[in-house]
């Protein structure tokens, strides 16, 4: 019997699906999950001008999304502890495939494709042992799981690929959770987050840990500039009487550099960075704090604090033509450029934690 699923699998095997490009979708500039006015959840593509160019329903609240570098396919993860992820054709809204976490695993909601789009790497929790795992999926074989390796720590969250190198960088947040106890954090006094670099077969290239006094600073989100310098954003699990740095700069082979605003501004972040992005020219870094309602901008070359902007429930941030675009859980999309923060009209969508820019602006201009 041909079920819908085997039919779709057959299509994928014959290479029917990859004939569309992102251009066929009206050149979205970024993609994000959101809650819609009727209370349902959706995946939306938005142009640089802030226009919605596509909208596809999601069954539940999403977390991060991963964009296929060539085709208008999006991996939409269920929220933690998600056990499956959908591969969605943004053009038709069809499910192209479903990724099921193996038994004893759940997804953390982040992933990254190899540059050619052939393989997808996902961060996962092997929750009986609390080992972080990277799952490998073959997009050309209907997202069949083809392998896995250890992430080098507990609670791997974001994952990125260094430019021009087959090196993965992984934010091992350090926090142990188990689906039976929901989001309860099981090891805060013992947690040891790290930043781990692995080759594509899981071989460790480098691993850094912060100073022991910062062991409760969970390394969660990443961005990488064209030179391969890694920006990592952190969430503090320690005492609220301290205001640790929430942004780090790291280059392979060197010591990390931590960046913070002056104390009186740093405390406004509520010890929480929800997302991080580097500008396209690599000159600036932005971190957002939905808990503090702040965006902090840093000079990425000088590694110094530049400025702070106020925006309620801001979390999503992505590089734009002129600087950064940010999104909020209250429906606002705003642009940050040399003139400052310019909020557009409030959209009816409650934007989720992360906005994802198209992998390469050039891919928007035809195949």
């Amino acid at each position: 019997m041909t079920t819908r699923r085997t039919f779709l699998a057959g299509l994928a095997a014959f290479g029917t699906t990859p004939t569309y490009s992102w251009a066929d979708l009206g050149n979205p500039s970024w993609v994000s999950a959101a809650k819609t006015p009727d209370g349902s959840h959706a995946l939306l593509g938005v142009s640089a001008q802030g226009d919605i160019v596509f909208q596809q329903p999601l069954p539940d609240r999403g977390h991060d999304t991963v964009l296929h570098p060539k085709h208008p396919h999006v991996i939409g993860f269920a929220r933690r502890p998600g056990r499956f992820a959908r591969v969605l054709d943004c053009r038709t809204g069809a499910d192209l495939a479903m990724l099921h976490a193996p038994p004893g695993r759940h997804f953390y909601g982040h992933g990254v494709f190899t540059r050619d789009g052939a393989y997808l790497f996902t961060t996962e929790n092997d929750y009986e042992t609390a080992n972080g795992v990277i799952g490998i999926w073959d997009s050309r074989r209907n997202y069949k799981r083809v392998g896995e390796f250890l992430s080098g720590g507990t609670g791997p969250h974001d994952i990125a690929l260094l430019p021009d190198q087959d090196i993965l960088v992984i934010a091992n947040g350090g926090i142990e959770t188990h689906p039976d106890s929901g989001r309860t954090k099981l090891n805060i006094p013992m947690m040891r987050p790290n930043l781990t670099y692995l080759d594509l077969t899981g071989g460790q290239i480098e691993q850094i840990e912060l100073d022991r006094s910062l062991h409760t600073n969970s390394i969660r989100h990443l961005d990488v500039d064209h030179a391969g310098n890694v920006a990592f954003a952190m969430q503090w699990e320690g005492s609220s009487s301290e205001t640790p740095p929430l942004l780090g700069y790291h280059k392979l082979g060197q010591n990390p550099i931590l960046l913070a605003a002056p104390d009186e501004l740093q405390q406004d972040m509520n010890n929480y960075a929800g997302s991080v992005a580097l500008s396209r020219d690599g000159k600036q870094a932005a971190i957002t704090s939905p808990r503090g309602g702040k965006i902090h901008i840093f000079d990425w070359h000088l590694q110094t604090f530049e400025t702070s902007y106020d925006l309620t429930d801001v979390c999503g941030v992505a590089a734009s033509e002129t600087g950064f675009t940010v999104s909020t859980g209250t429906g606002v999309i705003a642009n940050i450029d040399k003139t400052g923060l310019n909020a557009g009209a409030r959209t009816p969508f409650l934007w989720d934690n992360h906005m994802v820019p198209l992998p390469d602006p050039a891919s928007q201009h035809g195949t």
Partner: protein, 339 residues
């Protein structure tokens, strides 16, 4: 000028400032005076009693020692949702109660001390340097109730270890109470532009966060861990099951949290009813459960624990939405998500 006068007044006349504040922030004042401070006074008192009992008789099955253990543990569970402020300093909250402990660090750390006959137990100040897993109520529970631990090493060393853990609990409890009644209460309770909290709403937001997190911990950890999954219930993972405190801790936490919720709903009976009714429904369910949730292993028993978990979730939801909206401090779509 005005600011320095305010600071002087705060420093010199903290008692009259407390009463002055009450006019502006009656709910905050009530929570501090009648919810928070009595709870930390209770852990201080019961902690001291525990230390005394351990000094008097350190036999693990000594009835007076076990009673003192239960009394102090009761006091801690009723205060443990106040995790901001003094409980964050030096990880005191975790040092009082390190649980859940999926990797069994408590048993391993204690067994390590016993096997090595580590002399650290003979110095109270030094003992604060041991692994957090070997401190607090769950470590003391293992020493008093765990058969395997009580078969390790010598009775003399285990006695010294029991006294060290009890002394450490008492010291921690006293430090928490001293900080709350001393410098921290003035910081937390004084409102103003240059203060920790600009207005009552901002302080209430911290209390609401503690309330929601408290309900969530009982729902997800205290009830979620023994429930496990339908195919694999995990009764041995129930909190403090060796001393048969699993249900008792749930009952104490729900009562204490609901006391806070009612104070935050003061003057609004329709809000207070949401919480008192919710607690009453939970109490009815709890009357029918065993002390250690052993019933999670059979289908009808499991269902009863699941219903209690749902009642707890409803209380959490009421705090998170109804009460937060009432105070105008509803947490944002992304701020709440925390990922």
């Amino acid at each position: 000028m005005l600011r320095s006068i305010t600071l002087l007044a705060t420093a010199l006349l903290s008692l009259s400032t407390l009463s002055l504040r009450a006019q502006d922030a009656p709910v905050l004042q009530d929570v501090i005076d009648n919810h928070i401070l009595p709870r930390f006074a209770a852990i201080d008192n019961t902690g001291a009693e525990l230390q005394k009992a351990a000094q008097a008789n350190c036999a693990p099955n000594d009835p007076a020692l076990r009673t003192a253990y239960h009394n102090a543990f009761d006091a801690w569970i009723s205060a443990s949702h106040i995790r901001f402020g003094p409980a964050e300093d030096e990880q005191r909250g975790y040092a009082m109660g390190f649980w859940p402990d999926p990797k069994g660090f408590t048993t391993k750390s204690l067994a390590g001390l016993i096997t090595d006959e580590d002399p650290i137990v003979f110095d109270a100040q030094e003992y604060t340097e041991v692994s957090i897993a070997a401190r607090g109520f769950y470590a003391l529970e293992a020493l008093l109730f765990d058969e395997w631990i009580n078969a390790q090493g010598t009775a003399e060393y285990r006695c010294a270890l029991i006294r060290a853990v009890a002394t450490d609990i008492a010291g921690n409890a006293h430090a928490l109470n001293a900080d709350w009644t001393g410098p921290y209460v003035a910081k937390f309770g004084t409102l103003g532009a240059d203060q920790m909290h600009e207005n009552e709403e901002s302080a209430v937001q911290v209390l609401l966060n503690a309330l929601v997190t408290g309900y969530q911990f009982t729902e997800e950890a205290r009830l979620g861990r023994p429930l496990g999954t339908f195919d694999r219930p995990r009764p041995k993972r129930a909190e403090a099951q060796r001393s048969e405190r699993s249900l008792r801790n749930v009952a104490l936490s729900l009562a204490s949290l609901t006391d806070l919720a009612q104070r935050l709903s003061e003057g609004h009976p329709e809000l207070q009813t949401v919480f008192t009714d919710g607690l009453e429904r939970a109490d009815i369910r709890m009357a029918d459960l065993s002390p250690t949730f052993a019933e999670v292993e059979d289908i009808s028993g499991r269902l009863k624990v699941e219903i209690l978990q749902q009642e707890t979730a409803r209380l959490r939801e009421a705090a998170n939405t109804t009460l937060a909206t009432f105070w105008g401090v509803a947490v944002g779509f992304n701020a709440l998500d925390g990922d």
